[in-house]
């Protein structure tokens, strides 16, 4: 039984090792991310404002759906993000489990609420959109169902993390669950597709207009980019708060809080 000594005691080799080593230290991460966060927020705000302006005022109303299609600018980016964030959470979870890096644990766990929120927004906006277009809030369509299952997976990760007391143990357990869920997610996606097409003809096609007008498409793409910055900013902000909370009795936090006050 040989336990790896903490990374701190190892001789430093090259720039990459230096960087990883530094990233692993909470005070350094806190300071570094503190510089990054304002920029991320700024980029997000300007991109989102631009996209919304284009989408809400410049793009013409859809000839079939009228004004309601503008929900798309919320719905589609959040649906995309819901899946992307799960993937990144699982990858970070894997790294955290294998190398026991605390910062990555914190990052993975801070991703979960953001991802769950996006999933929820995708579901809610989709439901609201469904009412005028399909005449019902909910159908057991393949895409809807797998998005619902994704929400359950997120809730499972969050629930498990919150149910266990010791923060590192909780994070490790939830990371493992995130990885297992990630293995299953594509399987769920495809199985739901087959299931759905078997029973009833695909009377509903979510990918209604594939060749949509560029004036409708551009705002969507810009918005999709904007939410990535939102994710980064939100994630880092959450991680910073969580680190402060966890290390509240440590010297570096006292110093940070003292600095903030003065």
């Amino acid at each position: 039984m040989t336990t790896e000594t903490a990374i701190q005691n190892k001789p430093r080799k090259n720039a990459l090792v230096m960087f990883i080593h530094k990233m692993g230290s909470p005070p350094w991460f806190y300071n570094f991310s503190g510089k990054l966060v304002p920029w991320l927020w700024a980029v997000f705000c300007s991109l989102a404002a631009w996209a919304l302006y284009l989408g809400l005022f410049k793009a013409p109303a859809d000839y079939l759906q009228g004004e309601s299609f503008r929900i798309m600018y919320i719905h589609v980016p959040s649906a995309w993000m819901s899946m992307m964030i799960y993937t990144s959470m699982a990858i970070m979870g894997f790294i955290a489990l294998v190398w026991r890096i605390r910062i990555v644990e914190v990052l993975a766990m801070s991703s979960a609420p953001v991802g769950a929120a996006f999933t929820f927004v995708a579901l809610a906006s989709g439901s609201l959109w469904g009412r005028p277009t399909w005449g019902t809030y909910w159908v057991w369509d393949a895409r809807l169902t797998s998005e619902l299952v994704l929400l359950f997976l997120y809730l499972g990760v969050i629930g498990l993390y919150n149910a266990i007391d010791e923060p590192r143990k909780a994070a490790r357990a939830a990371c493992l669950l995130a990885i297992v869920g990630a293995v299953n997610l594509p399987i769920i996606h495809y199985s739901v597709k087959w299931w759905n097409t078997l029973h009833q003809g695909s009377s509903i096609s979510v990918t209604g207009g594939s060749n949509i007008d560029p004036s409708m498409l551009w705002p969507l793409l810009i918005m999709a980019l904007a939410v990535k910055f939102y994710y980064g900013a939100n994630l880092l902000t959450r991680a910073r708060v969580r680190l402060l909370e966890q290390d509240k009795r440590k010297a570096w936090v006292r110093k940070v809080i003292g600095e903030d006050k003065s």
Binding site: F152, G156, A163, A173, L176, L177, V180, G181, I188, L198
Partner: protein, 231 residues
Amino acid sequence: MTREKSSASLSGAFYALLRRDLLLAFRRRTELLFPVIFLLVVVSLFPLGIGPGPQLLARIAPGVIWIAALLATVISLDGLFRSDFEDGTLEQFVISGHPLTLISLAKICAHWLVAGLPIVLLCPLLALWMNLPVESLGVLMLTLALGTPVLSLIGSIGVGLTISLKRGGQLLSLLVFPLYVPILIIATAAVMAASDGLPYTQFLGLLTAGLITSVTLAPFAAAAALKISLS
């Protein structure tokens, strides 16, 4: 670190554990019947709750039997590692130096024999109750035979993660039911295809693939989960 284990001692430990778990399950002869009766009771709730129309029952039969199987599995899952965790036996397993993966696998096998196999064997009776056409019965049994081990395997991961929590039951079902969705869908799709006279072998192939994948991966994940829960 701990001495290397010979494969003889490993298989000895595996069988010892399997035997013990079966002994525990069948401590009293009446307890042999519990899973079976649970299934019968749950399935019989449906005609009572939904009304006895034979066509309707036949239509929903595969789904109902499979959902009952899911529920029976989840209810029995809690016993998979909990008692070993609470009385300190799991610590003893870790100390023994036998790989935790092997231990998980033994316990999963025992769980399937106790909670999964009875479902497979009971399925003709349930199908009869639910007016399922005889042609689909064979397929239903096959899907259950292939699918219930997967339920035990995937479930073991969820149990491993939640045993250190006192009120793990509801959280456990939140964790595992989403993972069970593909099995449920594929299995019921197979039975429905069979009863519509459509080809269904591709579904059975998928189930087999799922079984193979989860046999190779789940015990490792369960072992990792247990290790985390112990710490």
